[in-house]
């Protein structure tokens, strides 16, 4: 294929990718009816970011989750619609790890800073060497998980559940965020006073973990290059149970690693399955009195 042909193919893929996500065009973003009622029960939906996620990416990730949720809310169960779902961010600082990834990419692949940011979650950066040198440890070694971050996350969940907030908690972690979420969940329930059972639910996305606490849900794609590499090192990693279908997203520089949270929420069946898991979790949470 000629260089022009390849550029043309990539351009077409990008246009189709953008078009495929154009089903979310809103003249105005709808509000949640239950949130207009101060007496309606509240659930806080936390996003916990992963290893290649900057603060801005984390904001956009939870924004995408909120948009997709609002888009599906009218078709969800009455129990979910009766709740006001408040979206929040439990940021997992990854500046040092992205820094390592950035420097390794420059040194080993000689890529420019611009290309690094264009392809942060792309296939070209998820090479075996870069994963080994910059990402493998933080994704697999529990000793490298920051204890203060876990404590901060656990405290945030406790504050939401306790009076006067009295909110249920749904956690949607991505990538390494799953390891933080599992540890924070254990901390919340293993230290008194323990909140009511079932007051926290988890829907993990692209998880390098081997479990999801409390019979929570998870979705990992068969085309997730980073998690597939982690699974080679740690065979106990939860197996893939979704995919992105035949999508041009996997041809775009930004999504081709199959690991992007926004990619998971832009392609099907992963998007539909994640939202179904969220609906099931919120329905179960609605039956719990948090405080």
């Amino acid at each position: 294929m000629t260089r022009i042909g390849m550029r043309l193919a990539l351009t077409v893929a990008w246009v189709v990718a953008a078009w495929s996500s154009a089903d979310l065009v809103h003249a105005q973003i709808a509000s949640q009816p239950a949130c207009q009622n101060v007496m309606a029960p509240r659930t806080t939906v936390f996003f916990v970011n992963g290893i290649t996620t900057t603060l801005d990416d984390a904001r956009l990730n939870i924004g995408k989750l909120e948009l997709e949720f609002l888009n599906r809310l009218p078709g969800m169960s009455e129990a979910v619609q009766a709740n006001c779902n408040v979206f929040s961010l439990n940021y997992n600082p990854t500046g040092g790890e992205v820094n390592d990834f950035f420097e390794a990419a420059q040194q080993q692949l000689g890529i420019t800073p611009t290309r690094f940011w264009l392809e942060l979650e792309g296939l070209n950066l998820f090479t075996r060497e870069l994963i080994r040198d910059a990402l493998e440890g933080p994704m697999t070694d529990l000793n490298r998980i920051d204890a203060s971050t876990i404590e901060r996350h656990a405290m945030a969940y406790r504050e939401q559940i306790a009076s006067p907030s009295c909110r249920r908690v749904l956690i949607v972690p991505h990538s390494q965020g799953n390891l933080y979420t599992n540890a924070a969940y254990d901390l919340v329930f293993n230290q008194p006073p323990s909140p009511p059972p079932g007051a926290i639910k988890i829907v993990g996305v692209a998880t390098p973990a081997q479990t999801v606490p409390a019979n929570g849900f998870y979705r990992t794609s068969t085309t997730d290059v980073l998690i597939n590499a982690i699974r080679l090192i740690r065979p106990g990693t939860l197996p893939p149970n979704t995919n992105w279908g035949i999508t041009p997203l996997l041809l775009s520089p930004s999504y081709s690693g199959g690991h992007s949270f926004i990619g998971y929420l832009s392609a099907d069946p992963s998007r539909t399955q994640i939202l179904s898991d969220i609906e099931s979790s919120l329905t179960a949470l609605a039956a719990v009195n948090p405080c």
Binding site: M1, M6, R7, A9, L10, W14, A17, A18, S21, D23, L24, H26, Q28, I29, A30, S31, T54, L55, D56, R59, L60, G63, K64, E66, L67, V86, F87, S88, L89, N90, Y91, P93, G95, G96, V98, N99, F102, Q106, T112, P113, T114, R115, F116, W117, L118, E119, L120, L123, N124, R152, A156, T222, T223, I246, L250, L251, S252, P253, S254, S256
Partner: protein
């Protein structure tokens, strides 16, 4: 599915060889701040990119949302060594991103990725951006609910 994955892998590998980005390299002695000749808070090269890609005449709302982010990103990398301003600038970036999501709910991410890649076009700018992130903790920066994102636009 495995065949599909291999095809995708090859396709991405091939396209990556074509230098898919048309981003010109920065001058060798570019400072972190760069040049903002008209003093509007947006680096000149970024201003040129935004105006060329999202002309005010056709996509004024997107143009303004991206300028809002570019201004916030510019002060972020300039003040990256200072914790308090970094938290304030993170909030400014969040408002700009909420504005962008309100204006372009279907394709905000690709638009953001392209702009950020141009803003952080040197190692020094990239490292400053990451340094600023390290000053921010969850809870420092509140999020607006989706039905209020439009109100975040300046």
């Amino acid at each position: 599915m495995s065949v599909f994955v291999v095809v995708i892998w090859l396709a991405v590998g091939l396209t990556s060889c074509s230098n898919s980005s048309d981003v010109p390299p920065p001058p060798a002695q570019e400072t972190v701040a760069g040049i903002d000749a008209n003093g509007d808070g947006v680096r000149d090269d970024i201003e040129v990119y935004i105006d060329a890609t999202y002309p005010v005449s056709a996509q004024g709302d997107t143009n303004r949302a991206l300028r809002q982010f570019a201004r916030a990103a510019q002060v972020t990398i300039i003040d990256a060594g200072e914790p308090a301003p970094s938290v304030a600038h993170a909030a400014e970036r969040f408002r700009a991103l909420e504005c962008l999501m309100a204006r372009r709910p279907a394709d905000f991410h690709l638009i953001f990725v392209e702009l950020r890649a141009r803003v952080l076009n040197t190692a020094a700018r990239s490292l400053s951006y990451l340094q600023a992130d390290n000053h921010v903790r969850a809870g420092n920066v509140p999020l607006l609910p989706a039905d209020q994102w439009g109100g975040a636009c300046l």
